[in-house]
Amino acid sequence: MKRLFKRFFAVSVLVSSSFVWAQPDDERDRSLIIVGSDTLAKLVTAWAEQFYVLNPTILIEVQAVGSAATPPALLLGTATIGTMSRRMNADERGAFAGRQQRPPIEISLAQDAVVLIVHQQNSLESVSMAEVGQIFGMPGTCGSSMRPVFWRDLREDSTLANWKLQVFGRTATSGTYQYFRRVALCDGDPGIFVNELPGGAGVVNTVARVPGGIGYAATSYTSNDVKILGIEQPDGRILYPDDAEYPLKRTLYLYVMTDLTSESRSIECEFVAYVAGEKGRDLLRDAGFSISQVPDAQSAQDVADACD
């Protein structure tokens, strides 16, 4: 027994010391912690990966559990960069003032759209915003009355007439949920019958598999497995996510905690510069977002310039 124990101990010491070789030598006193929205998770992870390749001495950690994580994380200092798929509201901003801390720098990153998706076999092509309130909200949301239970309640000629509606959405901490609630549900209550899935990809994967399914997700998660619905306007037009006036367009934000007045250039500034640069923008486009400008917010390039 003792011999076995000694051998086991020796082997484990050797094995763990071999891991040491996997790690480059460094001082590691610069770290970058990014938290925030799940919608931007893939993009931020790809950015972090590339940024790490360019700056191997920086320790990077990415956490993407929801937009609501960003303000408290920035406030407590748990993270220095945060992404949100909605704008920080007055309460969250006020918390920084309340603690006598300078507010985070707001950068409008890209434009994204929240789309309504159904199964490929569903004959539905478009819905009105009123119907969206009926489907996704508690009874009475947006002035609606009866919730459609079967697909024939929504469209008499539906190919899935006798199937029940199965509604899929995000969990309450997701920025997409909060945006959808404010805009598509008129600040009302989402239905308790809505299946809450933690990630945008989950919504798309599930709706692709459930014939009677309908859900909402950010465009960057949609794939060819689902059908994207148009939104009917009162004047009869049907708008799709590519149209400029699509009602569920939203801006994605990047919040940076850094002191622009300080002498040395902070890592956060470096990261913003990277994001504003060629490589960063390429990844942004590859991720399916469109680079846009919101009038009352700065762009990444503005902040990068201000950093210097």
Binding site: M1, K42, A46, A64
Partner: protein, 340 residues
């Protein structure tokens, strides 16, 4: 059903009906065992088939071979086309977590077990400890995460930051989820398992051992550490390995106290103490959870999830097997001393 074990007054006829019935009922319960074994192996086969299908059969990028796929499994960098992230950092992270956790759970678990078997008399205090152990074993893992977050991360971590890392505030060093707090939380989760295993091992030792040691003039602690413990060491290992299995697979506390989706740097360093305790880390179970719910899966993506699940299950299975063989090794040693 009387309170004494009286045999019910019933005609104990060994009629054919009774015999058939007996066979049938026993057959039914035996078939339950078969079913369970079937389900277990069926799940394993399912994982292997899905993972194998993705590795060998599905066509993703045309110029990709099996070796490329295997390389992807372990070393892929996250990119935008697919949701793959190499599992090597997760394996290292899981391994580091288990090592640090063992560092904490072993002394505490062994000490408590020694206390209960060697030192304690049957007082209210020991009864309280035993009740605590059984209850800790039954507490949902998420509650440990809740406690870990409140006590370790914000409580202890906040204090450590205030005392030792005040210069870095408000950016927290230890006041935030990390490897150390995750390991401590999992140590608490596994404490009952280790205690029970070591207690079993200590109970199985014959009293002659202790009596002989005392007779030779050893003090209490000498008896315990030089005579009893070496004999019970295998049970310590089986307890630890059971704990390891749980640490690799239990995800819910980690959601709150330490694992992250992506961290390109391993929680290791080239200087002492060789492990970065304040860093967040990647973990196999967490990666599986993340891949199942958050990732946009690559084509044939189910297979990717099955890959992660398979590696995790294999890891745990191997550890369980070691525990089992160690246990049988203990039992084999006892045959000539003790009918078991």
């Amino acid at each position: 059903m009387g309170s004494n074990a009286t045999i019910r007054r019933r005609r104990l006829s060994s009629s054919r009906y009774e015999r058939i019935r007996s066979l049938a009922m026993i057959g039914l319960s035996a078939s339950m065992v078969s079913t369970v074994l079937l389900i277990g192996s069926g799940l394993f086969v399912l994982l292997v088939a899905s993972a194998g299908d993705w590795l060998f059969l599905s066509s993703g990028r045309l110029d990709e071979g099996v070796l490329d796929r295997l390389n992807d499994v372990f070393f892929a960098k996250p990119n935008l086309e697919n949701g793959l992230t190499g599992l090597f950092p997760a394996i290292v992270g899981t391994f580091s977590l288990v090592m640090v956790m063992t560092l904490f759970v072993a002394p505490l678990g062994v000490a408590t077990a020694i206390y209960l078997t060697e030192y304690a008399r049957d007082t209210w205090y020991t009864k309280l400890i035993r009740i605590s152990i059984t209850n800790l074993a039954g507490v949902p893992a998420i509650i440990y995460g809740v406690f870990g977050l409140g006590f370790f991360v914000y409580g202890l971590g906040g204090q450590v930051d205030a005392l030792f890392y005040a210069k870095r505030l408000p950016s927290p060093t230890f006041g935030t989820p990390g490897l150390l707090w995750a390991a401590l939380t999992l140590a608490l989760v596994n404490l009952p398992v280790v205690i029970v295993a070591v207690t079993e091992g200590l109970d199985a030792l014959p009293n002659d051992l202790r009596e002989a040691s005392i007779a030779l003039g050893a003090t209490k602690s000498e008896t315990v550490f030089n005579a009893v413990m070496p004999a019970a060491l295998p049970s310590v290992f089986s307890g630890l390995i059971l704990a390891t299995a749980r640490a690799a697979g239990e995800v819910s506390p980690l959601l709150l106290v330490g694992a992250v989706k992506f961290s390109p740097s391993l929680p290791l360093a080239s200087r002492a103490p060789f492990i970065e305790f304040e860093q967040k880390f990647m973990h196999l179970g967490f990666q599986l959870f993340d891949a199942a719910l958050f990732a946009r899966l690559p084509p044939g993506g189910l297979g990717w999830v099955a890959c992660i699940a398979l590696i995790l299950v294999l890891l745990i299975g191997v550890l369980n097997l070691i525990a089992v063989s160690l246990r049988t090794a203990i039992l084999k040693r006892k045959t000539f001393e003790n009918p078991f």
